[in-house]
Symmetry: C2
Subunit: 499 residues, 2 copies
């Protein structure tokens, strides 16, 4: 996942939502439906224990896409899903790619006029390091008690296996109750989201003709506002991820015999990376801020008015203050400002004790969060220029790239967005918060640019779910509300006439 | 080891040496000796194949002192040596310490007037990482061909197991030929030199009364000038080694959800360490240069006159230019200027591919080479002040210390130094170069301060021996010349009357 960390109730947008989307009961009376949604929701409740058992099964597969050691396990997770969709009457194919396979499953609608919905998710998960900080093995899901009832601790519990399961189980409930789905459904679930979705652009291009037949994309890879309040994310940052290495001497040297007289690549790397930001927290790559739109006064006012618990947000990660680009609030920094973060660094001796070595090379993984209208290629060019201008004597940079995506702005209106808001209102009994997100979901941009499809981002994670960290968890309450919401949203979408 | 990397023929000093130390044959005619050295040298030649076999045996023991995994192997190396010395009639004890054991072996002299020589060496070795760069396993010694004949590739080949063996085998040859040694000999060989000699100061203090009875210390842990020219090192840098960690958030975070709004410990660590040097390469810790003596014009002129092959020195490590503190030559930078080198750095995700994480902490190993009159405690205080002044919000520094030693200046005159120069002249047929060294041999300072004993540093390594690096090697020619030199020096020392 990558979506919103904390969400914000966009007051104006939600006032509109409240007007348009009446409660479930009111709408039922007014709108003729082909399929009745209430028994579907009841079926979700009745079958929930079985859904949890399937979910645990899915979580046991260590589908870490970024580490080649787990290549077969990643495929195994794709196979597992394919079998599940086939059991629901889908035509499902696990397509080979240059990287990990992509699952595409298709189910016909009730008639030619039915809307066609494309669901997207990912079945791969993040690495688990540092392993020693987990309270239970990351791929042996543990059901434990928490303040909101039972929760499941496992890698992928929410990101994105848990969210994918909310879609699968909602479709299952419809199929069980009605023997059919109320809309035409295509499901695309990839296995490379956590390693940059490298194969996805080529795949979407190759299958554009088929996929373009969908009317809208529905994605669950973001957070709810809180455990009782749904959220729709309409703004996302992109990400440019690189690994850089500074190569100096031909081999490791003794720091006594050479220290002070020759280039030390670790010294030099810290000097260069230490200049990534200026004193105001602005990223120093040439051209980095080209195209970055200023926030409108209206948007800043709306965000400032959100009931955002900054103290709680920071407190749950052991901090008391936000730091970053001067002149912006915490939500603005996360939702609307580009960044440069070193995600990993290594070089020289890192074992116990001391070793007096000058390393031959030093490396770092660096990522840049992008915002709408920022050009990823320009950032890569700026990085190259930034590094080249700071190359130490006799040294050479190596740069590897792991994916590059743009920031995204999704139109907050339209019938599918309204249907999603209505379905969430049906289940939660209150309007969804309209929020931004700091993370990246590359597929949103690809769907928009490549297929002309807008994505609706409805997610059920919480900000304390520790995704990408040890002890990732998902509340069973969130899992169930997610399944109910997808079941309800599908019913609402079925009511939209084919565009 | 740690001594000189390249050496320099101190022209003035060597002119004096040439006058004082006549050739072996001339001196033999003039000086009455109790023991004849020539059959000892012949015995070294005759027994060399056996000496190599013992040497290979010793190298097989993976005595890496800095890594607790090898604790038993370190002791095994000490036991191996103790047995060898006992076989030569030494009273040998492997003393327990809070760290690795220290071997002390003692052999009586021929009479009460004989000089008493204290040999020092270390039987521990450096770690072997990066293992994949070795052409043969580091603890399976390989005898391979090189431009100077056979050489041995193994961790510890020269540093310091090979050099320790030159002492052991010289003593063996004396014992074999004469059934006795020509001087009283104590041997002290520690197992923690590569991890900061942490237990040594306490041990020397506890055994000061006994050890102080020696007349001089002889150490082989430095280099020759080149394969045909011996060297004595009279100037050494010390070393202050620390591991620092910057602790930020309570756990690893998703860089999309938090990036740009909270402290990133890796970003911050590079910013802080990137300020270690100013634009002129001067170390920026407060008070760092307090006490550092300027080089005299005479010393700078002498060093500048040395036949130092700077192009070759840099070329063999893949470099073309020296970089460092402005206003100093390469030899001055290595022999007489203090440094700050990052020896290791780590944090965040360092595996294959990408992980969008903000690490909870980031660490580095940093060492400071010290020169005479620089106070190690003051450097630690300066580091603390430097870091504290740059602490990011909500963050905390952890500092661990691994040894601290001062720079050393050894008087280049005196009867023991003259005897060493004469013995080297006997074997090599030319005077020893009088050189500085960039590395650290903490025991030299301890012997000087704690026991009032000056050390004579006679070593047989070459600058391309790749100590502390993959594929460390020792030329068999250097091994043999080392044994011959120690045999000859012991003969010369026997001629000195008890002081």
């Amino acid at each position: 996942m990558s979506g919103s960390s904390q969400a914000g109730v966009s007051v104006a947008a939600n006032a509109a939502a409240a007007t348009i989307a009446a409660t479930s009961r009111e709408r039922e009376a007014k709108v003729p439906t082909t399929f009745d949604v209430q028994p579907v929701l009841a079926q979700v409740e009745a079958d929930f224990a079985n859904a949890v058992a399937r979910y645990i099964d899915f979580l046991r597969i260590p589908s870490i896409s970024t580490d080649p050691t787990y290549m077969k396990d990643v495929r195994r997770a794709g196979d597992w899903l394919a079998a599940e969709f086939r059991a629901l009457g889908f035509e499902a194919t696990l397509h080979d790619t240059p990287g990990h396979p992509i699952l595409v499953a298709h189910h016909a609608g009730p008639n030619a006029d039915a809307p066609h919905l494309l669901y997207y998710g990912h079945y791969d998960v993040q690495p688990v390091e540092p392993l020693e900080e987990w309270t239970s093995p990351p791929f042996e899901p543990a059901i434990v008690d928490g303040p909101h009832g039972k929760r499941v601790v496992a890698r992928g519990a929410v990101d994105d296996k848990g969210q994918v399961l909310t879609i699968l189980e909602a479709l299952r409930a419809w199929k069980t109750v009605h023997g059919a789905l109320p809309a035409e459904v295509t499901v695309l679930i990839e296995g490379e989201e956590e390693s940059g979705s490298v194969s996805l652009p080529g795949f979407l291009a190759a299958h554009a003709e088929t996929l373009r037949r969908a009317d809208a994309v529905l994605i669950s890879d973001t957070n709810a506002w809180d455990i009782d309040t749904p959220a729709i994310t309409y703004r996302l940052r992109g990400n440019v991820y690189v690994e850089i290495t500074l190569n100096g001497p031909s081999h490791d040297l003794h720091s006594g015999l050479y220290g002070g007289a020759v280039v030390n690549p670790i010294n030099a790397l810290t000097e260069v990376l230490g200049q990534l930001h200026d004193a105001n927290g602005r990223v120093q790559l040439p051209g980095f801020y080209d195209g970055v739109a200023d926030l409108s006064d209206a948007e800043r006012r709306e965000w400032a008015a959100l009931p955002f618990d900054e103290k709680g947000f920071l407190g749950e990660i052991g901090l008391t203050q936000s730091t970053g680009e001067a002149g912006f609030t915490t939500l603005e920094r996360i939702w609307a400002r580009p960044t440069a973060d070193i995600n990993g660094i290594w070089g020289g001796y890192t074992g116990e004790g001391s070793k007096t070595v000058i390393a031959a090379r030093a490396s770092a993984k660096v990522s840049f969060r992008t915002v709408p209208n920022q050009n990823p290629q320009k950032i890569l060019d700026g990085l190259r220029a930034f590094l080249d201008a700071r190359t130490p004597p006799d040294s050479k940079w190596t740069i590897r790239q792991f994916g590059a995506s743009e920031g995204i702005l999704v139109p907050a209106e339209g019938p599918y967005m309204q249907a999603a808001r209505a379905g969430l209102q049906d289940v939660f009994g209150k309007p969804a918060a309209m929020v931004g997100g700091g993370g990246s979901i590359p597929v949103v941009g690809l769907m928009q640019k490549g297929l002309g499809l807008d994505s609706i981002l409805v997610g059920f994670g919480l900000s304390d779910d520790r995704i990408h960290s040890p002890n990732e968890k998902f509340e069973l309450k969130c899992l169930k509300n997610g399944i109910l919401s997808h079941a309800a949203i599908l019913g609402r979408i079925a009511e939209i006439g084919k565009k």
